[in-house]
């Protein structure tokens, strides 16, 4: 009798081990790439350059903008949608920050609040177009990309607005500059902390909120979700609003790191964000995936970029390698055991 039970139980355990492996696919991928980076890292006086505190902080700082965007993108992809407008919204937010603080002499807080609100409303409107009118999110956000980019050009007068800090006219408040500083003994850049807070908040939110159950249900089977009483329209609008909000937050971080807001900021960022989500194991069909995976995916791309740059590998080759990693991640997902 116990014999039979053992035999029945064994395969179930095996599949759950496999399922765990696939669930944390991007974490394992990150570990593999991380170890490879240590091995291939250039050394100076016996020190491994890649793992120096300074370099690691740089790796994370470099992915913080894409990371913040990718967290919002994860929400959208979880409901089976896509948001192509995030790069353009980032540009709009960067321009907005610069123009408000430098040209309009707005204070730090009102500027940031208005810029975040613009991103939120922009996202919500895209949500309305896709949820209530029923246009596919690909089309809606393709249009949104053009519109946000156009607004950014109009608002900035078509060129980058440089940010200088000080108390005088045409100067941004010095409090804004603090966002680009480092903390914890000058080690951890503030953008990294913002990214970390966003990521942790998103992970917790997806774990404990009733809203997240609705979100996964909409992505998993929209019809079933609707018949079960899930407020599908509200969920969709909220998700696009969150994604727009996070894109504009990334735009603020972008502006402070480059000390300017340019209407051309963030071109192509939507594709990097989607890549991070896909490497993170979130299904483009919706209903399956996690923010933790996306964070690992973003870090993986960051480590990869960093180690290739440290070894002075041609940036075009970097693109090739990035492409292959995305394909490999997607191929791994095809092997995922399904019911």
């Amino acid at each position: 009798m116990t014999d039979v039970q053992d035999r029945v139980a064994a395969p179930a355990e095996k599949t759950s081990v496999a399922a765990t492996l696939f669930r944390f696919q991007s974490v394992f991928g990150l570990i593999v790439v991380f170890v490879a980076a240590i091995i291939f890292s250039p050394r100076k006086n016996g020190e491994i350059l890649f793992v120096s505190a300074d370099n690691l902080a740089n790796v994370v700082r470099a992915v913080s903008e894409i990371g913040i965007i990718a967290v919002g993108m994860t929400f959208v992809i979880l409901i089976g949608g896509i948001d192509l407008s995030v790069g353009a919204v980032l540009g709009l937010a960067a321009v907005g920050s610069a123009v408000l603080m430098v040209e309009n002499d707005w204070g730090f807080l009102p500027s940031v609040v208005l810029v975040l609100a613009i991103g939120l409303v922009f996202g919500a409107l895209q949500g309305v177009a896709t949820a209530m009118i029923g246009i596919q999110s690909f089309i809606v956000t393709l249009a949104g990309l053009q519109i946000a980019r156009g607004l950014a050009r109009i608002w900035s007068g078509g060129q980058g607005v440089a940010i200088a800090y000080g108390d005088g006219p045409k100067e941004a408040p010095t409090s804004f500059a603090l966002l680009g500083e480092r903390t914890f003994g000058g080690l951890v850049p503030i953008p990294v902390i913002i990214f970390a807070v966003v990521a942790i908040a998103a992970v917790v939110f997806l774990r404990v909120s009733a809203f997240s159950r609705h979100l996964y249900a909409v992505g998993g089977n929209e019809k079933a979700a609707r018949l079960s009483g899930v407020p599908v329209v509200r969920v969709k609008i909220a998700v696009f609003a969150i994604c727009g909000l996070l894109a504009s937050l990334a735009g603020i971080v972008h502006a402070v790191q480059l000390n300017q807001g340019s209407p051309n900021d963030g071109i192509g960022y939507e594709l990097d964000a989607i890549a991070a989500v896909v490497i993170g194991g979130t299904s483009l069909a919706g209903g399956r995936g996690s923010v933790a995976g996306t964070v690992a995916g973003a870090l993986l791309l960051g480590v990869l970029n960093n180690i290739l740059a440290l070894n002075n590998i041609d940036s075009n080759i970097q693109l090739l390698i990035k492409g292959l990693v995305i394909v490999a991640a997607a191929a791994l997902q095809r092997l995922r055991p399904t019911s």
Binding site: V208, R213, N221, R226, L227, G229, S339
Partner: protein, 511 residues
């Protein structure tokens, strides 16, 4: 002269189900042969074998005396056999002419599509069928009946010698039916053999030369439809004598829960195959299980969808009263808040997220109640899910297992459990035991009995007559979007339901 089609000792088994057993079927040239039987009697299987859709079978087929064995639908078409399916297989975005010539487009000498000739020939074909339709119109714009006529024109254009029509009139108006009959008579004169599947006795009496009845996959009888009464035909189909007894509903159940008064829905954009309510009145009392019977396309699902607020938009007349209060169901959230739950027909596409956990699928409709301020208390939702699993005797491993790994019956229990966690007063069920094994079926029936005993009202749509008779206190029969009869199951049987659904009994004045 040999028969046009002779099917001898045809047998077909699907798993444990014997769909056809030793069936003989003969169709002569110039003959209209009606095929009758309940759902699952084997009509479709037999015709799928003849049209080449089913290639594995026992027995033999001869066309004009020559034995044939089709490897697929293309072989059958080459032999002059065409089938008009009940599900219209048209491409909505293409024009009428394009649809008629789909896959065998007429070409110009330089091999481009000869649109003008296709349109001209399509127009001739349609004229022949007595239909005035512009062949350039996209099929998606047409009414369902018009689409049905296009499929018929398409089948005729194949110059078939054998034409199989599966419920060709289900969406036609009476004048369109008359024209279709003219076409059928013309084809018959031209020597075409026609197999006519329908549940409508008056049509069969009008157009068929011979009728064959199947039951449980076996041949029952063959007769001249003008010589037998409908009652005798129904008896042959059900296998028992028909006793016709109408009674008023039981009044020993609880208070009136649901009252529907002359409910009509006129959809803004009518969809193919839908039969929206066209004057339905019924009541469900607390603790009562009321069945909804009717043929395919009678409007059972559409009624439930209207009550749940998920029918397509349109103008609605009539009243829906829940516990005496008029309501206008606006959608699932609204319906659930009022205490109306719905278990949809297809649990895989409309009920479950198959790759999500049993837990997530059970609690999704009742989420806000497991915590505060939108934060879920995991312990509470686990407790609710476990309680429901016990109550439904769900067979499962762990609550976090994917619901898709469960058997069909257990999947259905999860959908039930989800609705019960919302604590409904009225449960709308659409084919709740379809694709469910016998054991789970019995448990679902037991559960329904329990729920009714606790005062829940149930409205159950089903195509399985034994289920309706066995489970329900009362059955309302729908036909063409109207309620045509109401039976107490204490003293009427399957035959009564079937006869009323087929529209042969005069049911004026019956409540």
């Amino acid at each position: 002269m040999p028969d046009l089609v002779r099917m001898s000792a045809i047998g077909k088994r699907y798993g444990g189900v014997q769909a056809c057993h030793e069936v003989d079927f003969v169709l002569g040239a110039g003959e209209v042969h009606a095929l009758l039987g309940e759902n699952g009697a084997g009509k479709s299987t037999l015709m799928k074998i003849l049209s080449g859709d089913v290639t594995e079978y026992a027995g033999s087929i001869a066309i004009n005396g020559a034995p044939v064995r089709f490897g697929g639908p293309t072989d059958a078409q080459a032999a002059g056999i065409a089938m008009i399916h009940q599900e219209l297989d048209l491409v909505p975005g293409l024009s009428v002419a394009d649809n008629i010539f789909l896959g065998r487009e007429l070409r110009t000498p330089v091999r481009t599509v000869d649109r003008r000739r296709m349109e001209r020939e399509a127009r001739e074909l349609l004229d022949r069928s007595g239909v005035s339709l512009d062949p350039r119109r996209p099929v998606g714009e047409l009414r369902v009946g018009e689409q049905q006529l296009v499929t018929i024109a398409k089948a005729i254009s194949l110059d078939a010698r054998v034409l199989i029509m599966d419920e060709p009139t289900s969406a036609l108006t009476s004048s369109e039916v008359e024209r279709l009959f003219d076409v059928i008579r013309e084809l018959r004169t031209g020597g075409v053999g026609i197999v006519y599947i329908s549940h409508r006795m008056e049509e069969i009496a009008k157009v068929a030369d011979r009728a064959t009845v199947l039951r449980n996959g076996k041949f029952v009888t063959s007769f001249d439809p003008r010589e037998l009464s409908t009652a005798e035909v129904v008896e042959a189909m059900v296998g028992r004598p028909v006793q016709t007894m109408f009674t008023t509903p039981d009044s020993d159940t609880g208070d009136e829960l649901l009252r529907v008064e002359n409910l009509k829905l006129k959809a803004r954009r009518p969809r193919p195959g839908r039969r929206d309510p066209d004057g339905i009145s019924l009541t469900v009392r607390a603790g009562e299980i009321v069945g909804l019977a009717g043929l395919l396309g009678a409007g059972r699902t559409e009624l439930l969808e209207t009550l749940y607020g998920v029918a397509p938009g349109g103008s609605r007349t009539g009243r829906i009263l829940l516990q005496g209060k008029a309501i206008l169901p606006r959608g699932p959230r609204h319906a659930l808040a009022q205490g109306i739950g719905f278990v949809p027909e297809d649990r895989r596409t409309s009920g479950l997220v198959l790759f999500h956990s049993i837990l997530a699928n059970t609690v999704v409709s009742s989420l806000p109640s497991y915590g505060r301020l939108g934060v879920i208390a995991r312990r509470m939702e686990r407790a609710a899910s476990t309680r429901m699993a016990d109550r439904l005797r769900l067979k499962f491993g762990r609550l976090q297992d994917e619901v898709g790994t469960l058997s069909g019956g257990n999947q259905q229990k999860v959908v039930f459990g989800r609705m019960l966690l919302t604590e409904p007063k009225l449960l709308l069920l659409d084919e709740p035991t379809r694709g469910v094994d016998v054991g789970a079926k019995a448990e679902i029936y037991r559960l329904l009995g329990e729920l009714a005993a606790q005062g829940l009202g149930v409205l159950l749509a089903s195509s399985e007559l034994p289920e309706l008779v066995g489970v329900c206190d009362r059955v309302v029969v729908l036909r063409d979007g109207r309620d045509v009869a109401s039976f107490s199951t204490a003293d009427s049987g399957e035959g009564d339901l079937l006869a009323a659904a087929m529209g042969h009994l005069d049911v004026e004045g019956v409540q």
